[in-house]
């Protein structure tokens, strides 16, 4: 090993407390940087997959469902919802100028009663007209969704038999979807025949939430694709004017609240990171400066023995690099250990879609956090290097060891 690297290690070992305190500070920095990056990218990923999953330019829901935000609850948090409007609205919507394709969906919340395997949101879609669900299903499953077939979100656990029961309808799980980090991860998709059978059974079983709902003539939401050249916002406004009892909104309007939230969270994390970074540079800079002053005699002795100024800079920089690399790695590991296992809790408490990036991206962030932290240490040490470069060794020899 190079002598100065060896000497750095020995110096670090000789002052364990000092080494620990400084590397703890660097650990804090990398903790915040890595943790902050995980949070922000997870939220950003979540938002992207949320709007991608929505898969429609405009979404129409019953008026009440829109004002109470029930649709967003289903999408974002997987809070089961039952809301319905007459399917006669579909034709009226289809007549609005600018509407290209449209496809209805029927929502049904299952219960924890014995007729159901689990309490989840069931979403019925129409495979003939659908354009928003099937593209996602097709990434996992190429076949058709027949009667009794279901596709489940990533967080639904499926028994080895591959069967789940909802309102006494025995269903075959044909595919599990990719994770989205949204409420849709706890949803189950079925075709219209299947879900309407479930709804009818529910009525017979005496569940009251379908009272007054004509199952065959109702839908919960209508997904709309607008013709090219038309603006989703204005088509949504047109629909609102043309059709009563419903509320139509562009998909961005369903996302904008979330996007705004993301901006807030990112802003807070960004500001926090900058603050901690500045704090680190200042505290590290001041401490290293004080330490190097105190070490004046030690450096002067090295100079007297023939070490060049450059090799002393190297010594200082290698010491701080080793110390901050260790600190930063610990910070990254702690950060990962604190944040990665608690995605579900974070999602719930922020009420935002949350999708942790791929492991290779995480690895990249970890490396970046370590590199930035080490560079921060090196930058902080430059004050000391500057001071050292100005003084003749002969002057420092006079300092007390």
């Amino acid at each position: 090993m190079n002598f100065f690297a060896e000497l750095s290690l020995k110096n670090l070992k000789r002052k364990p407390l000092r080494t620990f305190a400084l590397s703890a500070l660097v650990a804090l920095l990398s903790f915040v940087l890595f943790g902050g990056t995980i949070l922000v990218t997870s939220l950003k990923n979540g938002l992207d997959s949320y709007s991608a999953r929505l898969g429609a330019d405009v979404v129409v829901v019953p008026y009440a469902a829109r004002s109470e935000g029930q649709f967003e609850d289903v999408l974002l948090q997987g809070i089961p919802g039952n809301f319905y409007m007459s399917s006669s609205k579909i034709d009226k919507i289809a007549n609005v100028e600018g509407v290209d394709k449209l496809s209805p969906q029927f929502f049904l919340a299952s219960t924890s009663a014995s007729c159901c395997s689990a309490s989840v949101q069931i979403i019925g879609f129409d495979p003939d007209t659908d354009f928003s669900v099937l593209p996602w299903v097709n990434r996992k499953y190429g076949g058709s969704i027949g009667d009794g077939d279901i596709v489940v979100g990533s967080e639904i656990s499926v028994t080895t038999s591959g069967k789940l029961k909802f309102y006494n309808v025995e269903c075959n799980v044909v595919a599990t979807l990719e994770r989205t980090g949204t409420g849709l991860d706890t949803a189950v998709y079925a075709n219209m025949n299947t879900i309407k059978q479930m709804a009818k059974n529910a009525k017979e079983l005496g569940f009251t939430f379908l009272d007054g709902v004509n199952v065959d003539k109702s839908v919960s939401a209508v997904m709309i694709k607008v013709k090219s050249g038309y603006d989703a916002e204005s088509v949504a406004a047109q629909i609102n004017m043309a059709v009563t009892g419903i509320r139509s909104g562009s998909s961005t309007s369903y996302v904008s609240g979330v996007a705004g939230g993301l901006d807030n969270v990112s802003g807070i994390i960004g500001a926090l990171s900058v603050m901690i970074w500045v704090l680190s540079v200042v505290i590290l800079g001041v401490s290293l400066f004080a330490i190097c002053n105190e070490r004046g005699k030690e450096f002067a002795v090295l100079r007297a023995m023939g070490a060049s100024k450059k090799s002393l800079y190297k010594l200082i920089i290698v010491e701080i690099s080793i110390l901050s690399a260790v600190g930063a790695s610990v910070g990254v590991i702690l950060s990962g250990a604190f944040i990665l296992p608690f995605g579900a809790i974070i999602r719930r408490s922020l009420q935002m879609p949350y999708l942790v990036p791929e492991w290779w991206q995480l690895a990249l962030f970890a490396v970046a956090a370590v590199v930035i932290s080490v560079l921060t240490g090196v930058i902080a040490s430059l004050f000391s290097v500057k001071k050292l470069s100005k003084n003749d060794a002969g002057l420092m020899l006079r300092e007390d060891a």
Binding site: F3, L7, K10, N11, K13, R14, K297, E298, A300, V301, L302, R303, A304, M305, G306, A307, S308, K309, K310, S311, D392, A393, G394, L395, L397, R398, D400, A401
Partner: protein
């Protein structure tokens, strides 16, 4: 090697009546030949260490030139001068100068390690030097466990490890007893006999008998003492 100083001065900032600087060493000419053993005496604060540090290339003179052999010491840039010092000048700085992170043996080997010249031969030499200064048994101990005199002897062994042709020693016998003083003086005297130029600052009356020449420093001015 010949050590030569041409009218070297060094000023430091200090507020005194009239000026804000003073001369620690003033316009001093000096020359020492290979094999010469020279001692410098003088009151505390008279400028001895300042002078010696300038000869060592550790303190830039405000005026004048220092030559070691044919090398104009302060003409070269730091990297070159440092390596030159490493190879040719054995420095024993004033005070306690052990590196606390290294063992006694590693401290003695330090000059040979800086430019990667530590080999088996150097280790043997280091052990011999440690035996000569009576520290062999303490070779694996760290300097904070040494007494002042032991630390001083370690510094002397360290200055000799590269077999330098110039030795600059600043009060090397400062806190040594008679026996150890004699031991250190004979080591330095031997180096001089081997052709090294030895320049030593001392307060020690016992040490003076070893010198070929004795100079006296007073108020930054060096003058040769005639016995």
């Amino acid at each position: 090697m010949v050590v030569k100083a041409e009218k070297i001065s060094r000023t430091f900032l200090r507020n005194k009546a009239g000026t804000n600087f003073f001369y620690a060493v003033q316009s001093t000419d000096f020359q020492a030949e290979s094999g010469e053993f020279i001692e410098i005496v003088g009151k505390s604060g008279s400028g001895k260490s300042t002078f010696l540090n300038m000869l060592a290339g550790l303190l830039t003179p405000t005026e004048g030139k220092v030559y070691i052999g044919n090398t104009d010491l302060y003409l070269s840039e730091d990297g070159e001068r440092s390596q030159f010092r490493n190879e040719n000048i054995g420095v024993i700085p004033q005070g306690q100068t052990g590196l606390l992170s290294l063992t006694v043996l590693e401290n003695v080997l330090l000059p040979s390690k800086i430019y990667g010249k530590c080999d088996g031969e150097k280790i043997v030499r280091a052990e011999e030097l440690l035996k000569a200064v009576g520290l062999y048994d303490l070779k694996d101990v760290y300097p904070n466990e040494l007494s002042g005199g032991e630390m001083r002897r370690m510094a002397i062994a360290r200055a000799l490890i590269m077999q330098p042709s110039v030795i600059l020693a600043d009060e090397p016998t400062g806190d040594l007893d008679e026996e150890n003083t004699a031991l250190v003086m004979s080591l330095l005297k031997n180096a001089a006999k081997g052709g090294a130029t030895v320049i030593m600052v001392t307060h020690d009356k016992d040490a003076l008998s070893y010198a070929d020449k004795v100079y006296s420093m007073s108020g930054g001015v060096l003058s040769e003492k005639t016995a």
